[in-house]
């Protein structure tokens, strides 16, 4: 028996960064807004006590704030010729659970993609010819430019209080910042974080090599700040409990610190937690959403009618909800037709470990987005001609943590346990640092998401199936980047270095990154995209889909800055939509 609830103006699926921002911006117009979140409510005061928040066992090992596979999991395979099996323990990526979503457990690295990233296909072909494009690729230009997104990047940075140093303000290159970045309207809202010893060595070495290091833009903020929503943040204490943790110190940019305090005061806003949305309901002709169906905390099935449905879950689960709801045609790699699930992408990680003879890097005095980076090898900031790959990476010297349970660096060849291992950990802990390359992943015909034919969730719905592997282009790029990292590590004065190549085939077991992108991409052509340039469904005009699922391919950066910018960009369009509902781009 489905319980039918009173209509709302706006129904939001998921209460993370994107859901909380759109909820606040729409509720303050006076619209009746309900957000449905499948996990629990979480706020700083109730859930992240300074005495218990830095609990590595609870959060980093036992994954307290993450999705349980029993709630939802995926099946996975590397290639369409294989049979996918369910992920029974989350590994390579960790989807969040509950209010705040990934915005709660992230590290806080808040990048803008580079202007070239938004028209990468056209740009690469113009500069290098079509021959540079990798085999099987489905790389496509974004339907929005950097310049169009700039005010929205700015808005997100202001709301999140991001700490950094501008490299290009209105076309004027700024000393100390990233000279490759697109022009910004102004400085970051807070100054860059204080860097550690490793970063000073990196900066000196990289500068000496003619490279352009700058402090990484950070959502662990450097000084007290009050954002445009009136929410206050405190300076980061460099405790090194960021990624996989909630911040007890009001220092990490998150929905909890930056949006929820203002949102919960809005009288027309309602959050319903422990409510799992099972389907976006459509009108008989399939052209309009009528609301959503969800299972509430008591296990009761409810129908929530609404005029506007905003799909704001984690990128992977946005795609699954579209597939389960029949919004957009599912992608079929055999024919190349269909769009939902198409262009799933991820991120590469490679680099070099640098072992020093005598150094004290104090890795425990850290923060998730502390670090110095350089973009000389990102996007098309260097000549790709001799290398034969597309894409790039941001290269960084960073310590995100030196936590006692899981941070046990040892040199290659050390036994995995026993007294020799213990001695190696003791000898190495203070003497090792890293130069890492976080790289782009392009989109390919055979990297995609669809519904699994075999495995189902506890509600009887098919699990989503992920088919993904790093393609030769990404392997070539990431391994070339590892060599660049090693060069810098040597110049920093490391006694020995270890090259960390991209691990292939992609495995779901070791943690790599939760930068899952694509599957519901935005584009100019409804035959190759799920959403138009305003994140509005081509097929169902009162459905907008927020998040990294909209990326046509992934760039050499963390996705959140661009997710935030796209959210404000789409919101501006939603304001127009509210005045005159309908398709914002005709197909």
């Amino acid at each position: 028996m489905v319980r039918r609830l009173p209509r709302k103006d706006v129904v939001i699926v998921g209460l993370g960064w994107t859901g909380s921002i759109v909820a606040y911006e729409l509720a303050r117009l006076g619209l009746d807004v309900v957000a449905l979140e499948r996990g629990p409510w979480r706020d700083t005061a109730s859930d992240f006590n300074i005495g218990t928040a830095p609990d590595e066992l609870r959060y980093a090992v036992r994954h307290d704030i993450f999705l349980r596979p029993k709630q939802e999991t995926l099946t996975m395979r590397n290639h369409p010729s294989q049979t996918a099996l369910p992920i029974r323990k989350w590994g390579s990526f960790l989807p969040g659970n509950g209010v705040g979503g990934a915005g709660l457990h992230w590290n806080g690295q808040t990048w803008r993609f580079l202007p070239d990233d938004f028209r990468i296909r056209s740009h690469m072909i113009e500069r290098y010819g079509a021959g540079i494009m990798p085999e099987g690729n489905q790389i496509q230009d974004w339907p929005v430019s950097y310049d169009e997104l700039e005010p929205h990047y700015d808005r997100f940075e202001q709301v999140a209080g991001i700490s950094g140093k501008a490299g290009n303000i209105k076309g004027t290159i700024q000393p100390g910042g990233n000279p490759f970045e697109g022009a910004r309207a102004r400085e970051y809202p807070t100054p860059p974080m204080k860097q550690g010893y490793a970063q000073s060595l990196f900066t000196k070495a990289a500068t000496g090599m003619g490279l352009h290091p700058f402090p990484r833009p950070s959502g662990n903020i450097s000084s007290a700040y009050t954002n445009p929503y009136g929410c206050s943040m405190a300076p980061c204490t460099y405790c090194g409990f960021c990624e996989w943790f909630g911040c007890a110190n009001y220092s990490k940019s998150s929905p909890q610190t930056c949006v929820l305090p203002a949102l919960v005061r809005e009288p027309t806003f309602e959050a319903r937690t422990d409510c799992e949305v099972t389907k976006v309901n459509l009108s008989a002709d399939g052209k309009m959403a009528t609301g959503v169906t969800y299972i509430d905390a008591a296990g009761e099935e409810c129908e929530q009618p609404g005029d506007l449905v905003l799909v704001c879950a984690f990128s992977l689960f946005n795609v699954r909800l579209l597939l389960l709801s029949g919004i957009g045609k599912p992608y079929d790699p055999a024919t190349g037709e269909g769009v939902v699930g198409r262009n799933y992408a991820y991120q590469t990680g490679s680099g070099a470990s640098a072992f020093f003879e005598d150094a004290k890097f104090n890795p425990f005095a850290a923060a998730g987005s502390l670090g110095v980076a350089l973009d000389d090898y990102n996007s098309d900031n260097f000549d790709h001609g001799p290398h034969g790959f597309v894409g790039g990476a941001s290269i960084t010297s960073a310590h995100t943590n030196g936590r006692p349970i899981r941070y046990h660096p040892v040199p290659p060849g050390t036994p995995a346990w026993g007294s020799a291992w213990k001695k190696a950990v003791k000898d190495t802990y203070q003497r090792v640092t890293y130069v890492g390359a976080q790289g782009s992943v392009m989109s390919y015909r055979n990297n995609y998401l669809d519904l699994d034919p075999t495995y189902k969730d506890p509600l009887g719905r098919p699990l989503m199936r992920m088919t993904f592997d790093y393609q030769p282009n990404e392997q070539k790029m990431a391994n070339w980047m590892a060599e660049r990292c090693q060069e810098i590590a040597k110049a920093m004065g490391a006694k020995t270095t270890q090259l960390n190549r991209l691990r292939v085939p992609w495995s779901v077991v070791p943690y790599q990154t939760t930068h899952n992108t694509g599957g519901a991409v935005m584009g100019s052509d409804p035959n190759t995209s799920v959403l138009n340039r305003y994140l509005q469904s081509w097929d169902v005009s009162n459905v907008f889909v927020m998040g990294a699922s909209a990326f046509p391919q992934n760039a050499g950066y963390n996705p959140t800055g661009t997710v935030g910018a796209l959210t404000y960009w789409s919101l501006e369009a939603i304001f127009k939509y509210l005045k005159s509902p309908g398709a914002l781009v005709s197909r």
């Binding site: 005061a45 300074i50 007290a224 929410c231 206050s232 300076p235 204490t237 305090p261």
Partner: protein, 415 residues
């Protein structure tokens, strides 16, 4: 039965109109009702007359007094369990004289010694607003005090000794703004009910007016213009900002004042807040003489400093300067150096949370640290805070912490 009740209520609704003429509000008098609502906000009536998770204004909150527990009554217009059968005159008499319609004496936990100063026109507006509330049937036990305090007639003697009835009299030598502030603070705002010490009969001590008190195991600090213990360092604008947003550069409202700010002052007009500020700044200053700070070499200071650095400094800063809008400044804090250390002790033992307002929505929390600090450690760190960065106040003993912890957490004092 219900028809009779309804008819009776209609009759009673009409009565004040007939008897008091224009003084009471007709049901369509929106101006008076809106004014009454604003006055109910200024008086923070909801704070005592609403139980936790209870219906608004339907009573049932247990007020703890030194004489026992008193349950705040239902003031919705329900005929049998609320004040539905009261006339405007009945209501005015309760507010001005502390008497029920049947003549029975009310206890001064209901602060009629303050409300007596409220003008009749304002009382009628409050009455008109209360009558627009949804009647809620909620019977509250009004006789919970133990013998002999359950004898309401005792209050007749109490009133003779401690109660001066009569409306507010403006001081013609002062500005209109000052007098408006005085009218609000001394009357409906009943600020002194918390911020003035009691005598042993539970009456506010007029000789120590607004010099601070302990309420529900929180320090209600000195709010005279005293430079050290009171608001002397605050400008009138600082006071307005505090009342409007729950915070300023000196302090963040927590404990009972959090509720006062959230329910009452943050919703009051700026002109009234300014008047309150002008009154508090100009009324006068009084406080205890300055203390001499403990020496840094005192073993309690050394132990306290070690605890402060490990446990407190990440947020409140080694300098005691705190972080604006989030973590209160301890250096130079009047609350930290009140004679009564209750707020400092209880926040460490049991935690606390600052007010959330439209102007400052974050509402930061201080976690409870009572689970890992012993009474002696809490005493040392509080002593350290009270005697560092220029602060000077009497040291706090382990026994004080033990007793307060027992009252706040329910832990047996012997634990």
């Amino acid at each position: 039965m219900s028809t009779i009740t309804t008819r009776l209520r209609h009759l009673i609704l009409l009565l004040p109109l007939l008897v008091a003429g224009g003084a009471a509000a007709g049901p369509d008098n929106h101006v008076d009702i809106a004014r009454g609502k604003a006055l109910v906000i200024a008086g923070d009536c909801i704070a005592c007359h609403t139980a936790p998770r209870g219906e608004r204004f339907a009573g049932g909150l247990a007020l703890q007094t030194p004489f026992g527990q008193i349950m705040a009554p239902n003031i919705t217009p329900d005929n049998t369990t609320g004040i539905g059968s009261w006339s405007a005159d009945d209501f005015a008499r309760a507010m001005q004289e502390g008497r029920r319609p049947d003549g029975a004496y009310l206890y001064p936990a209901f602060p009629y010694p303050y409300y007596t100063k409220v003008a009749r026109g304002d009382l009628d507006a409050i009455y008109a607003y209360l009558r627009t509330l949804q009647p809620v049937e909620n019977r509250v036990d009004r006789d919970t005090l133990p013998f002999p305090f359950n004898i309401r007639l005792l209050m007749k003697g109490w009133n003779t000794l401690f109660f001066t009835p009569g409306p507010f009299k403006p001081d013609s030598a002062r500005s209109a703004e000052f007098n408006r502030g005085a009218y609000l603070v001394e009357g409906l705002g009943h600020c002194g009910a918390c911020h003035t010490p009691f005598n042993s009969f539970g009456a506010s001590r007029n000789d120590k007016y607004l010099e601070g008190n302990q309420i529900d195991n929180w320090t209600a600090p000195n709010i005279t213009n005293d430079a050290r213990a009171g608001l002397g360092k605050w400008s009138a604008d600082d006071i307005v900002q505090y009342l409007k947003t729950g915070q300023n550069g000196f302090s963040l409202a927590s404990g009972p004042m959090k509720d006062v700010v959230e329910n009452s002052t943050s919703k009051m007009p700026a002109s009234d807040l300014k008047a309150i500020a002008v009154y508090l700044k100009e009324r006068g200053a009084a406080g205890p003489p300055a203390s001499t700070p403990l020496l840094a070499s005192d073993p309690r200071m050394q132990a306290g400093e070690a605890i402060f650095v490990d446990t407190c400094a990440a947020c409140h800063m080694r300098s005691g300067d705190g972080v604006a809008h989030l973590f209160p400044k301890l250096a130079g804090s009047a609350v930290a150096t009140q004679q009564d250390p209750a707020t400092l002790v209880r926040i460490i033992v049991a935690g606390g949370r600052a007010a959330a307002t439209d102007g400052a929505p974050t509402s930061p929390a201080m976690p409870s640290l009572g689970y890992r600090l012993t009474d002696s450690q809490v005493a040392d760190v509080v002593t350290y805070v009270r005697n560092s960065w220029g602060n000077a106040a009497a040291p706090v003993t382990e026994e004080t912490v033990k007793a307060l912890r027992a009252r706040v957490t329910g832990a047996a004092a012997g634990d």
